[in-house]
Symmetry: C2
Subunit: 527 residues, 2 copies
């Protein structure tokens, strides 16, 4: 956090200084925005009590449109995944091209059917020239309007960079710039395009389109409010901003973060309470229908996202009941390669407890090994050994033949599959000592711990596997917070030596565990 | 979070509406500030590269003064706790009165020695009249200045509400209002007073004084900058703001939250990057000397605060090593009152594992009971029973004779002490069945789990006790995230029934645990 904070501060200062050099627009589109992309601080100063009702209406609309958006995109994505994208990459490309063609056709064609609007009489303090000089983009786009005192309001939104379009929608002191008709046309078109585009093979954001949609109907509502409360000094731009917030809230269901973002990009703290209210209303309305955009999509991809709170009935369930009935598959500490292969083939578990025999003879769970790590070991056969004995019992310390990078799954790939690994008959006859590669101390819970607690454990620590063990027979010790506050010891090597010296005196599985622990810097990131 | 967010939104809107009624100052001091207490949005528009150096200087000063402040207050508090406040309440009162007298004497007396300053020529767009009309507080306080065109700059800071004083220090377009001499005098005086006042028996905040101190030396630096870079349009107020941020960062060591606060109360987003930089510098400088104000004080009171990250050497330590050597004190499930008393007297543990004999005969840890809860049970003797048998084995279900409130420690009190409870000889001969009152499923860790993991467990779940148990002999099951995603079941009663029906079929200690679990809504808040 510290580092991120510092970096962003540096970035902010540097970029700001750099942008000072292109104040006079000789950097083209860059330099226009800055960090406060859509500065509406010059807009509505104050709001009156009567305005809260239309603002609430905006919130409701946002919730409805947002929920609808989530549902439609969900269906689209489902259909794509199950039919379209099965047909291979070529189809994906064709689809993307097709959509882009349609989009450009619409955004170029529709404004042509729109009649030009005469410019409003020049307003000194607004500082927005009409029409915009050709070549320059921005407000009051003169789109094939013969008369030099006219502009095309639909083109002002459509035929523009989205940043500029949003700036136009947010812009204050431009009442009656857009006709309700144009806004409605744009809203319908853009909404449909956004739904269709979402989930294509093109990496496209969801944020700016959301703001576009929201600010459009926001401004629509604003127009009616302006014409309704004539005496009040109301800006349509304010309502466009609230609309944007409401749609994002209705589809993404974020509250606090969105608030901060909206305030940061518009630089008007006075509107913060309104943004908060609108966000909450839209989120509440949206939640009545479905989950947030990201949750829906994650659910479609079967990504097990844990909500922030456990379900109520978990109170009455135990960890054991959650395990399901499929029984646990163990690995012995030193295992034959053939056995690993057959076990991995026989099930689809991702984690396996490893058991070992202590000196006293009873078996002990010495750790947890992940399927992915086993596959790495099988692929790079360096750890295969001929003897079924644990390597440290043969005296030689465990040599680390691997480095972390081998165990990290490459982002682009799906990881190693068992089918890709080929074994000679000799390989299958060899053994692997799993001890150095397992997670020596996985988190465990007693079998009858209430599932709410298990849930919190998972959620807070971001676990992926949890071992459910029998209720303990005895307690070795209790740890309290005081035990965890060590006096500063700036010489960790000393501690290490002392702990290594301890190792010798410990029973077999302890030795391994300690090795495993000392080795955790290697695997910690993965376990 | 949701609720807090909603509430604050409502509050913001309502208060804003209410304050609309006292715009014309007929609410006295209230209504002046609003949420944006010190609005400097009219101040410095832009900052140039050269200014970064003096700003860094401010950060360094803030770090030094903040660290010094923490150290001095630490000594003061230590001295108070060990000598002064031992002498009883009367001393505390006298001390508080004494300090308040000194404070008022200084803040009234010092300005008297200060010569009056002629008002600057009236500036239309600054909108600050000089001197302030008598009766009205604010800027340019005319403090016993005969001439009606003069003001007393020291009184403008001292003889004012702290809010107004800060507003004056932050105020833009008032260059050269304060003389370096006055600022320095105020800084020294106020810093000393703040150190002395901190930790008296008076509930006083640390935030506004911090802003006062910081903005004073900030403005001092600003004066020199203004006189140094004459050509640049620089406001002393900006530097006062940065100074405030730097001192708070240097003493409290907060970064992000402070940033948000400073921006919110000053409503100038453009300065955010500068505030971030200054905060980071001051925090870094301060961290070189000591810990933050709150950490120091918490350490003095021996409150075991866990830092966000475990110490490095914890990698090489196991949970067992952290337990310390004092051995665990058990309770049997049904225990004689006399035994409870003697055990509680014999040690100062706050949590005790409870063991019970399963049907099979071996002992099992059935939960953890807290000292505070035991004391509650001893005080309200309703659960005492004559027979040493567990109550459910006598067929009757465990009656809940308590409600949550009994187990909650009253905030004002230090909790029940064993000495306050009086037992008749008969009481001591009776028994208590602890099963209904224990935490049936405390978190457990295997004895050789690396201490870093234990640390994270404590920190993430906010635990107070953790049972260290032997390495498990077998694994009953594995839980993965998928197991924790239940399909919506809107009829928890059904689940409850089903789980109760399960109970009958389970072994003795399971039954109790299930009761305990089902009962957790009663004690969950406390465990």
């Amino acid at each position: 956090m510290w580092r991120v904070f510092f970096t962003s501060a540096i970035v902010a200062v540097v970029v700001r200084t750099a942008m000072g050099w292109c104040k006079d627009g000789n950097c083209g589109h860059f330099g226009a925005g800055g960090f406060i992309i859509w500065d509406i601080s010059g807009g509505q100063e104050d709001y009156s009590f009567e305005e809260l009702l239309p603002m609430a209406v905006i919130g409701v609309i946002g919730g409805l449109l947002g929920a609808l958006f989530n549902q439609l995109t969900l269906y689209m994505t489902h259909w794509r995944r199950s039919y379209l994208h099965k047909k291979g990459i070529r189809v994906k490309i064709i689809e993307a091209c097709l959509i882009s063609v349609i989009t450009s056709a619409i955004s170029f064609g529709l404004p042509l059917f729109r009649r030009c609007t005469p410019c409003p009489e020049a307003d000194a303090n607004s500082g927005i020239e009409c029409p915009q000089a050709p070549g320059m983009f921005g407000n009051y786009v003169n789109f094939y309007c013969q008369n030099n005192k006219e502009y095309n309001d639909l083109a002002t939104i459509f035929f523009n960079t989205q940043d500029d379009a949003i700036r136009n929608l947010f812009s204050a002191k431009t009442a009656h710039e857009f006709s309700a008709q144009s806004l409605l046309t744009f809203l319908v078109m853009f909404y449909t395009l956004a739904v269709v585009t979402f989930g294509t093979a093109v990496p496209a954001g969801q944020f700016v389109p959301g703001i576009m949609i929201g600010s459009t109907y926001g401004r629509l509502v604003g127009m009616f409010v302006v014409s309704f409360y004539k005496k009040l000094n109301i800006e349509e731009g304010t309502y466009a901003l609230l609309g944007a917030a409401s749609f994002l809230g209705g589809s993404m269901r974020m509250t606090v973060s969105l608030c901060v973002i909206m305030v940061e990009i518009t630089n008007n703290l006075k509107l913060l309470p309104l943004i908060m209210l609108v966000l909450l209303i839209s989120k509440a309305v949206g939640d009545a229908f479905n989950e947030g955009l990201y949750e829906e999509q994650a659910g479609l991809r079967a990504i097990p996202l844990l909500e922030s709170r456990p379900k109520y009935q978990m109170r009455y369930m135990t960890a054991k009941e959650a395990c399901g009935n499929q029984n646990v598959v163990y690995f012995p500490r030193v295992v034959k390669v053939a056995d690993i292969v057959s076990i991995l083939r026989s099930n689809d578990h991702n984690g396996f407890p490893v058991v070992d025999h202590a000196r006293s003879g009873e078996t002990l769970v010495i750790g947890l090994i992940l399927r992915s790590h086993l596959l790495v070991l099988l692929q790079s056969k360096v750890d295969f050994q001929h003897s079924p004995l644990p390597c440290d019992s043969r005296g030689d310390l465990l040599p680390i033949r691997h480095n972390l990078s081998e165990f990290v799954k490459p982002v682009s790939s799906k990881g190693i599959s068992l089918h890709d690994i080929h074994f000679t008959p000799d390989d299958l006859e060899m053994y692997i000592d799993l001890a150095p590669f397992l997670n020596p101390s996985p988190y465990v819970v007693p079998e009858d711990m209430s599932l709410t607690k298990v849930y919190n454990l998972f959620r807070q620590l971001g676990l992926r596997h949890l071992l459910v063990v029998p209720r303990p027979a005895r307690v070795i010790g209790m740890i309290t917070r005081k035990d965890l506050i060590l006096e500063d010891n700036d010489d960790p090597t000393a501690v290490e030596l002392q702990s290594t010296s301890v190792r010798g005196t410990q029973s077999n599985h302890r030795v391994i565990t300690r090795k495993g622990d000392a080795q955790q810097p290697l695997l910690d990131g993965l376990l």
